[in-house]
Amino acid sequence: MTNEIKIAGFGGQGVLSMGMTLAYAGVFEGKQVVWMPSYGPEMRGGTANCTVIISNDRISSPIINQFDMAIILNQPSLDKFENTVKPMGQIFYESNNVINPPTREDVSVFEVPAALEAVNLKNAKGMNMIMLGAFLEKNPIVSIDSILKALKKVLPERHHHLISANEKALKRGMELLQNPVLS
């Protein structure tokens, strides 16, 4: 079983750390993982994205052009990656940042109002965790426990007090898709 995931958004939205958290969680469940960021000057105020592959077997190519799922946090990223999702795949998009939702019919599309919910949770930075929670609700490839363990690795020591807030955000994300707005 291999999951090939694209995560994309603006530079400051926590796209790379969301991917890293997911990857680390995979490790804690004994899987093979690859995390591959986009890098370079496009990060300067622009967009950022990463690929996460989680697999039970050795991962051959870290470079893939097609994904099982995509977690999309802004419009330019949706425009760029919508067509890279495999037929029957999934797209999770943040509805505040994406004005024109995906139009593909051969994939499952999940709208997640994560920005709004983050404001509600008084945790603006938690938007990415809400997205991740939503993703995990539909794809329980790793457990919340593993994600929390992973956060300890990804966050610098001085931010470990934020983990419980992140946990809330994750859970909120999961709830959001317990009654998903399928579009």
């Binding site: 603006f10 105020g45 802004n74 419009q75």
Partner: protein
């Protein structure tokens, strides 16, 4: 001292929200908008009608997107300035 009447027009879709213009305006005529533009930045807007057209804001604006107007010495017909709209429109009716 008679106040010179001025006005600024900001190409807000290119604003990066650095707030340097705000910091530099002696009149405190500028503030940040709550909204964000398509690049995800809050942008500067003229909020007080007390601009003197001193061009300070324009000089420090890194994006060079502030146009500054000042009341003409040789007064003539009026001119309409539309500014700070989200679309990139700047119409200066110059009936000269």
């Amino acid at each position: 001292m008679a106040k010179i009447r001025g006005h600024v027009s900001i190409k807000i879709e290119n604003c990066k929200g650095c707030e340097l213009c705000i910091e530099e305006c002696p009149q405190h005529s500028l503030e940040m908008s709550l909204k964000i533009n398509q690049n995800g930045y809050h942008y500067a807007v003229l909020v007080e009608d007390n601009c003197t057209g001193c061009i300070n804001c324009a000089l420090v604006c890194p994006e060079a997107i502030i146009t500054v107007y000042r009341e003409s010495k040789k007064k003539k017909e009026p001119v309409a300035v539309i500014s700070n709209v989200t679309e990139n429109i700047k119409i200066s009716l110059d009936i000269n």
